[in-house]
Symmetry: C2
Subunit: 314 residues, 2 copies
């Protein structure tokens, strides 16, 4: 992986995706006595950063994808990103999701025009079925995190941040990124450490699924020792991807865990106080801030997704 | 009223409030084939534009307010703005709200440290009680819309837009503003028509309470002929204020009505698709756009408030 691949990804995405806004938060400044910027990936189509890796992956194999179609497996947000990108590019898409995936995310994926197949009780079981189906159908497999194209697509966030904040990024800035399979964390870390070597990158993961934190400490990919379900349903990868993990091991400064209560608090904070719809995974960086787990004074939170079902009360 | 008053208001607010973000919306561009910018007043403390008029009004009578305290009457959002500003300035605040006000907004006002008195079944009844209490207590009355200080505070939105978009505002831009008592509409219209005479200003009001539209057509303040409750509970003024109306009559190009269904659609759109928490009153400009009631191609929507109670579903 090199920066040319990241710039190539950026060029591929340009006709399809706008640069996402970077919001300075006076509210978080007031409450936390820190300078906090929110990179609002929720403003991309489908409400998360996932169209970046989806477009980059499909566009990198466009001819084959036109002939055979594509196939992907996802807990929900990548599913929507892939369905959206495939629809935009006129490509047939099959998305395999576990039967236990969020009904809200299943419905949103279907509404984007993809064929959704529900299979298996866990993400792992749906992955196995996806591999089998891929062999039968010869569809192009689009990886949620464990491919160079995915990481390069995610890395375009780092290039945008560099444009938006410029040399401020050379002056004691820490970037907080949700961690699961590791694509987003690896991509952001790779781009920003190359462009602004002095910045710090910290991964944030639910304590209920600490695979990345355990892998980071072990210096190799390991499964979470005691995984439980988390309200951050987008952060459920059982083990980091090898490709992103090799980048994370070299480029990331730390991985921090947050509890379910901390995730819930941050999600409610966004809805109630900040008036932004952010799902628990996307709120995980702010959860770590409120839990006093981040010492840095200048912080960018990658607000990576906003897919939660909401009802209006009274 | 003159622009010096607006600039004075801007100077008064500066130590307390940040400029709110202006978000270009690729999503609305895609769906409506228009260029749409959202002025995110939801990002101010308390989630609406109301701290602007609240701070400007209190700061304009600061000595008296320190001695006697302040009093205000509100359906909910102004209540929170006043409570917040009073708390910041160390001033005692009584807020009178109708017993029928949104429980969510009552609770939020209380949590900001103001003394909340629930009185009357309608906004009108709570206004009468407020006047009586003001005479007894000599507290400074802070007007939600019918004062120069309020309109000048609201007008700072126009000054910010001028800074943010510059000469683009001279090139066929229409600004959509929710209308009720008229403070916000008058303020934005006054500032922008002075700074960018060629721009267009359109007020948006619920069809269920068309007092501003009827007044605009009659060229004088009249009550709504057949008022009903609206989900846009922040837009319930029974008659425009005289001071803002005199500005609106001269500076506003049109007032457009939206139905309850259109308001609901736009509110849901913000939550589901745009991942922004916006209440029906704040969503009214986008409601008018989706209902094809605005011909303009370049549109700024003043997204004026975001106070709706939300529950997370599954």
């Amino acid at each position: 992986m090199d920066m040319d691949m990241v710039y190539a990804a950026q060029k591929r995405l340009q006709p399809y995706l706008f640069m996402t806004p970077l919001l300075y938060s006076p509210l978080l400044n007031r409450q936390l006595k820190k300078h906090v910027w929110l990179k609002l990936e929720t403003q991309l189509p489908t409400g998360t950063f996932k169209p970046r890796p989806a477009f980059n992956s499909i566009l990198s194999h466009l001819d084959e994808a036109h002939i055979h179609g594509i196939i992907a497996c996802s807990s929900g947000n990548f599913a929507q990103g892939v369905a959206y990108a495939a629809h935009e590019l006129g490509i047939s898409a099959i998305i395999v999701m576990a039967k236990t995936a969020s009904p809200y995310k299943i419905e949103r994926t279907r509404s984007l025009g993809a064929e959704v197949i529900l299979h298996g009780d866990t993400y792992q079981e749906s992955v196995v079925y996806t591999m089998q189906l891929q062999k039968e159908t010869k569809r192009v497999l689009i990886e949620p995190y464990d491919s160079i194209e995915t990481v390069a697509g995610d890395a375009t966030i780092g290039v945008e941040l560099s444009k938006q904040l410029g040399e401020k990024l050379d002056n004691d800035v820490t970037i907080l990124v949700a961690a699961s399979g590791g694509g987003l964390l690896a991509g952001v870390a790779f781009a920003l450490k190359n462009l602004h070597p002095s910045c710090k990158i910290i991964g944030i993961q639910p304590k209920n699924n600490g695979s990345m934190a355990e892998s980071f400490n072990a210096r190799k990919c390991v499964r979470a020792s005691n995984p439980k379900p988390s309200i951050a349903d987008a952060l459920g990868a059982p083990i980091p991807g090898e490709i992103p993990f090799n980048i994370i091991r070299d480029y990331v400064d730390d991985v921090v865990l947050v509890t379910e209560e901390e995730l819930q608090f941050a999600t409610n904070f966004f809805l109630e106080q900040h008036k932004l719809v952010v799902e628990p995974s996307g709120a995980s960086p702010v959860a770590a801030l409120f839990a006093n787990k981040i010492a840095a004074k200048n912080v960018i939170c990658i607000t990576s997704g906003g897919n939660i079902p909401l009802q209006i009360g009274r």
